[in-house]
Subunit: 215 residues, 2 copies
DNA sequence: GACCGCCTCCCTCCCGGGAGGGAGGCCGCC
DNA sequence: GGCGGCCTCCCTCCCGGGAGGGAGGCGGTC
């Protein structure tokens, strides 16, 4: 029997997961938490085998909770991170935080069940797109914070990502099907918003802030 | 029925894999290749669903073959990379090359069969240790090699560190009590040794290789 | 409708950075 | 001693990048 803890701020999602999982004979949902802080307490008291953890939650988010749980327990549970999009930038950070695998919310029930069993057995399941984005050295999502603080627009963030991969303005223009002038404009606003003097400093900031992460 | 192509330079390994796979009703080994070049040809003629590809092979290695196969075919097969050690540095490069998953040679037969079925279905299996090494922000092997192979002198390494902190040549000169000309010389040799076009790319390489680490 | 933010593209001006040379001093090794 | 590697500094040439403007279109909001 595999004991499972559900952590998601949406009741609906928890209910859905519970229905899917408990339809199986060998899976048992032993608890539910609506945020990361509650999750930590329940892990201590319930000692589940597997935790299904939503990434985006108010208060304590899934990544922080994952780290806390892994730090806390002597025999921590397996943690599967729930996300909405395959190319979610959280993928990278979550694995870094110690998550054992990834699960798309829109995955078919059989896949969800399957992933839970795999996790309990010590394996890990990643969807191809998630793996690719990992392998491609994709930007991580504390970008969200950096972007939020700096107030970068989508386009600017996109440009910064390419700058942080060593591309010249001309190359970025080609990559995004833009004029070099446009790229220059974006780069300039990025520099201004980041308080960087030149693109080199912008790259440093991008790495230091976690906007992009080393492979 | 899932058609499989085995690529490994060791006959023994191929035989073992074939035995394991063909014991299943739904798996069929349609061919074997002893090196990457032969593999490419067989993929064309046999059109397998899944390729089990050894990484280390004489002549054309597994990564090169993987890239070639993916470039070549219009509907390329799923490629599972075979490796001996969980912490094999090839993990990163292989995924980057487009491999769909990883398989340890010492995996239990059931796991191998399982991974093949997953791959055929479009999922990907990674062993926890492999994922961890990926997610741990492991230094990009090629970048690390670039720096290691580069054979930077002490002075050059020192300069690169400052470049990777966003300093201009003039600032570096002031920091190290040097002439700007001297700094330029050092920067130029660093760029040459790293194969970087400009200081921005050098910074990227420095981070990707782990030469400098984000705070 | 007026306004604002974003994206797009244009211009000029200027400087720093990088290429591609050369050269002298120092140290350690053969 | 001679040689090679490293560090230092010099020169010129040139381009890309960044500053500092302006402007039009588009989609929102008030």
């Amino acid at each position: 029997m595999i004991d499972i803890l559900l952590v998601d701020d949406e009741e609906l999602v928890r209910t859905g997961l519970r229905a899917v999982l408990e339809a199986q004979g060998d899976l048992r949902v032993v608890g539910e938490a609506a945020d990361g802080a509650a999750a930590l307490g329940l892990v201590r008291s319930l000692r589940p085998d597997v935790v299904l953890m939503d990434v985006r939650m108010p208060e304590v988010d899934g990544l922080t909770a994952t780290r806390a749980i892994l730090r806390d327990a002597d025999a921590p549970p397996r943690i599967l991170v729930l996300t909405t999009f395959e190319n979610d930038d959280y993928v990278y950070e979550a694995l870094r935080a110690g998550a054992d695998g990834f699960l798309l919310k829109r995955a078919r029930p059989a896949e969800i069940v399957h992933a839970v069993r795999l996790a309990a057995a010590g394996d890990s399941l990643l969807f191809p797109a998630a793996i690719r984005s990992l392998a491609a050295g994709r930007a991580n999502r504390s970008a969200a914070e950096a972007v939020a603080r700096a107030g970068l627009t989508d386009r600017e963030a996109e440009v910064l990502r390419l700058v942080a991969r060593g591309l010249s303005n001309a190359e970025i223009a080609a990559e995004l099907f833009l004029g070099v002038q446009t790229v220059k404009t974006h780069v300039s606003s990025v520099l201004a918003k980041l308080g960087a003097r030149d693109r080199t400093q912008a790259v440093v900031t991008a790495y230091e802030s976690g906007f992009v992460a080393p492979a």
